[in-house]
Subunit: 192 residues, 2 copies
């Protein structure tokens, strides 16, 4: 069955949008936020400037859209790890390791871009979502006797996610793994 | 002996500066950064506008100066706790508790002010200084057998300071103390 016209349009739009996000992110990574203009993006994507403006009003809005897409990709990756087979402790370890690696990859991001992107509401939502979901996994760990029960899962989730933020300043993957281990050690039940 | 003219001038300047910082911080806390003008600060301090401009070019620079003063006050407070008598573990606990309380007090800060103040270079310097000094205390703890020795003091300091950043989102002093305990548990030497 041939595709409906609307579906084709929709697919085309999504492809254009994705291209704009990719090209802009690459240009900003290379030249910094201030070094990238809409004209340059139009040139890099091969889309006319007038068309580009139908998608996004400015470079900042493109970077915000790019960042939202990155974040939802990360949340999906973490949710997939949570839903794998294994004990709560194993799945928690897998989720926290992946989260720490994501923080580590973000290191050296231009401070200017960081300040821009972290102002957005989508970040607050994503953080809340992530904290809820790590808290749920921790609660499963408590029920299984793998995680301490003297502090609420909600508070422990905040502890984990903040502690793993340190991965952004670490030099190596080995250091990131040590950080995850230290953080997990803080979750252990007190010896009986 | 009567004071030298220069000393009197210097004292007067410092007093004016301190007054401007206090009044501005109070106004910004009440009305937000955008709700405060240089005229309003002049009025609040009883200093003429022309004189105020001899001290600071704008509201942002006043808030930056205020924040620098806050930070150096915090660093002095933490250094005093570090230098008290006690085992390294006890002093580390005292320093980390005080740091967590500082983070906790900062909660609810206007995001706009936070973004402004955290862009400054003085923050990067203060964080580096703090990390070095907590790392030194952790190294003493390792030497005393009170802190794990399988991860470098430098990495453990980054872990602690990030983890305690979670205090900014906690509701109560009791939750802050639990966070400090969980964070310290991550530093414990592995059971022999």
């Amino acid at each position: 069955m041939p595709k409906l016209w609307n579906e084709t349009i929709e697919e085309h739009r999504r492809a254009v949008r994705d291209t704009v996000l990719e090209v802009t992110a690459a240009l900003v990574a290379e030249h910094g936020l201030r070094g990238v203009t809409m004209s340059r993006i139009a040139e890099g994507t091969g889309i006319g400037r007038a068309t580009l403006y139908k998608y996004f009003p400015d470079v900042e809005s493109i970077m915000t859209a790019w960042h939202e897409r990155q974040i939802s990709g990360h949340l999906q990756e973490l949710a997939a790890l949570r839903d794998r087979p294994g004990s709560p402790g194993e799945r928690l370890t897998a989720v926290l390791e992946a989260y720490a690696r994501i923080q580590h990859r973000r290191r050296g991001h231009d401070a200017e871009i960081g300040a821009l992107l972290h102002r957005g509401e989508h970040i607050a939502h994503a953080e809340q979502h992530l904290r809820g979901f790590v808290g749920g996994l921790i609660a499963e760990g408590v029920a299984a006797g793998e995680v301490r029960d003297d502090v609420s899962p909600h508070e422990l989730a905040a502890y984990c996610l903040h502690a793993l933020g340190a991965a952004g300043g670490l030099e190596s993957g080995a250091a990131v793994r040590r950080l995850v281990q230290v953080t997990l050690d803080g979750l252990r039940p007190a010896p009986a």
